[in-house]
């Protein structure tokens, strides 16, 4: 067995840096995979990020990369990069749990989901599946069946959700890259609370084939990583048309990795006002101000009716989500997580008139935001209204008003995924504080804009992944 790369070296680099070292044969893919497996074994239990570890399969994949490189063959752009996936992506040979007890009754998946297959085809090494809110319906990953995911920077706090295992796995330094899904903020919220970069691409840009449906109108595949180039490299190999996803965009892939150094010259950037500038703790807005200052941005603009967009997102999500699980809600409601069950049951009772009007409002709102993107290219907003709440915390005081903490973690993310905009959440951590995120928001299919801004913020040291010591 190859010796594992030491943790200090393993977390000193981002995933793309590890791949570069593997491709240059300065370190073997096997040694990097052993490092990931060692971190998962020693530090994983404290954060409870993994539901399945695929150690032997990962070793086989890593050895295949090393053999290809030894033979002088190209092992792929992500050669040897260890990654893990939220447990709603199909992985051939294991049952896709989606954070539930109910799905344990299902047979193992026959093949990998599109996103998993794309990363593996590029040479990345899958090391396991990650904990999440049951059926992705939550922002805190306090999963009753598999236990709460703990924040790598403070184990008494949540990691965010619903891709909580993905956020914790990156923030704890277990893997440099993790896949998540984002319906209302489920990539961006855990990325922000765990100190990772989180990319939610444009709706339809990355195929969802082989991933469990939650609310199809808003479901996106996304990536969490240690750097902008990590999430970009993953995005580049996953993006593009796929006939197996009915909402997949037909436009050809537009790779972004080579554009990261292009800077922000010519990009019109503004801070989002109104809904996105109230209802949060001062440090959430301070993080946005810090990013704006680094970019020399003072302009402020508002999206009309963003609070109604959030409301419409909530009723569509509840209605579509409940319908996916209606048979189980009728037959075995006792087997749902108590944190999702009553919300799913309530979602089944939403009147059709409300659902249809919410979908019509969505079309209207898309038009207003499209007008705004005629005069601006990138918008800035907080990712969450507060740093990670405590596990079990029910309520929080925001702007002098006591509100329920769990739904409010999505107050700034929901009005954006509602119309499928590409968003990069960049981690910003004040000294001695828990991480926070700032959303860089682009027009549809303008991932390159938000990634270029993110790369500049990273180069300036304003945004940086926080990997726990």
């Amino acid at each position: 067995m190859s010796a594992a790369m030491p943790r200090a070296d393993y977390v000193a680099s981002d995933g793309v840096g590890l791949t570069a070292a593997i491709r240059a044969r300065r370190v073997s893919a096997r040694a990097v995979t052993e490092a990931a497996l060692a971190q998962i074994a020693t530090r994983g239990p404290a954060v409870n990020a993994f539901t399945t570890v695929l150690a032997e399969r990962a070793r086989v994949d890593a050895d295949r990369v090393d053999a290809a490189l030894a033979a002088g063959r190209d092992a792929g752009p992500l050669a040897g990069l260890p990654f893990a996936v939220k447990d709603l992506f199909d992985v051939a040979g294991i049952t896709t749990l989606a954070g539930s007890k109910i799905n344990r009754d299902r047979p193992p998946a026959e093949r990998d989901a599109h996103a998993v297959a794309a990363l593996r085809h590029a040479g990345a090494v899958l090391v396991g599946a990650l904990n999440m809110d049951e059926y992705a319906y939550g922002f805190t990953t306090e999963n009753a069946h598999y236990g709460p995911v703990r924040n790598p920077h403070d184990p008494t706090r949540v990691a965010g959700g619903s891709s909580g295992g993905s956020g914790a796995a990156v923030g704890a330094g277990l893997v440099p890259l993790a896949l998540g899904s984002d319906t209302n903020g489920s990539v961006r919220v855990p990325a922000a609370l765990c100190g990772a970069f989180g990319l939610k691409p444009t709706y339809g840009r990355v195929s969802r084939a082989g991933s469990a449906l939650f609310a199809g109108s808003f479901d996106h595949v996304g990536a969490l990583g240690r750097s902008v180039r990590d999430v970009t490299a993953a995005f580049d190999v996953m993006q593009g048309p796929d006939p197996e996803d009915p909402v997949s965009a037909t436009r050809p892939a537009e790779p972004c990795l080579s554009m990261l150094g292009d800077g922000v010259e010519g990009l019109r950037i503004a801070v989002l006002d109104g809904h996105f500038a109230r209802g949060g703790e001062p440090e959430a807005f301070a993080a946005v101000a810090q990013v704006a200052a680094a970019l020399g941005v003072s302009r402020r603009v508002a999206i009309p009716e963003a609070h109604r967009a959030r409301a419409a997102a909530m009723v569509i999500t509840a209605s579509e989500g409940a319908n996916v699980h209606l048979a189980d809600l009728k037959r075995r409601p006792q087997d749902f997580d108590p944190l999702t069950r009553d919300r799913f049951l309530a979602g089944a009772l939403v009147p059709a008139a409300v659902y249809v009007q919410a979908q019509r409002f969505r079309a209207w709102y898309r038009g207003r935001v499209a007008e705004l993107f005629g005069e601006v290219d990138v918008l800035l907003a907080p990712t969450t209204p507060c740093p990670a709440p405590r596990i079990g915390q029910e309520r929080i005081l925001l702007d002098g008003v006591e509100v329920m903490v769990r739904p409010n973690l999505g107050v700034y993310t929901q009005p954006l995924s509602f119309i499928g905009l590409p968003v990069l959440s960049v981690p910003v951590t004040a000294p001695g504080s828990m991480p926070l995120g700032v959303q860089l928001i682009g027009a549809p299919f303008r991932e390159a804009h938000v990634l270029r801004v993110g790369a500049l913020l990273e180069a300036k040291g304003v945004a940086a992944a926080a990997v726990s010591a």
């Binding site: 109108s217 009716e305 609070h307 109604r308 959030r310 409301a311 419409a312 909530m314 009723v315 509840a318 209606l326 809600l329 009728k330 409601p333 006792q334 069950r341 009553d342 919300r343 049951l345 309530a346 979602g347 089944a348 009772l349 939403v350 009147p351 008139a353 409300v354 249809v356 009007q357 919410a358 979908q359 019509r360 409002f361 969505r362 079309a363 209207w364 898309r366 739904p407």
Partner: protein, 64 residues
């Protein structure tokens, strides 16, 4: 039904709608379902009170 109904009206709405779609609600789950239905209908009011032009179609597009 009103979009911000009184609690007893909300309970009746939950019971009747669940019955009509064949969705049993266990007694121990009923208070939570009523609570979240109330929250959802409050959000729904923000959507339905907003006037939309007649020519705005629902967002999803079906391609045959």
């Amino acid at each position: 039904m009103a979009e911000n109904p009184a609690p007893e009206e909300l309970g009746a709405y939950v019971d009747e709608t669940a019955r009509r779609i064949g969705l049993p609600i266990a007694p121990e789950h009923r208070p939570g379902v009523i609570q979240f239905t109330g929250m959802l209908l409050a959000q729904a009011a923000l959507v339905t009170e907003f006037p939309l032009p007649d020519d705005v179609e629902p967002a999803p597009v079906f391609r045959p």
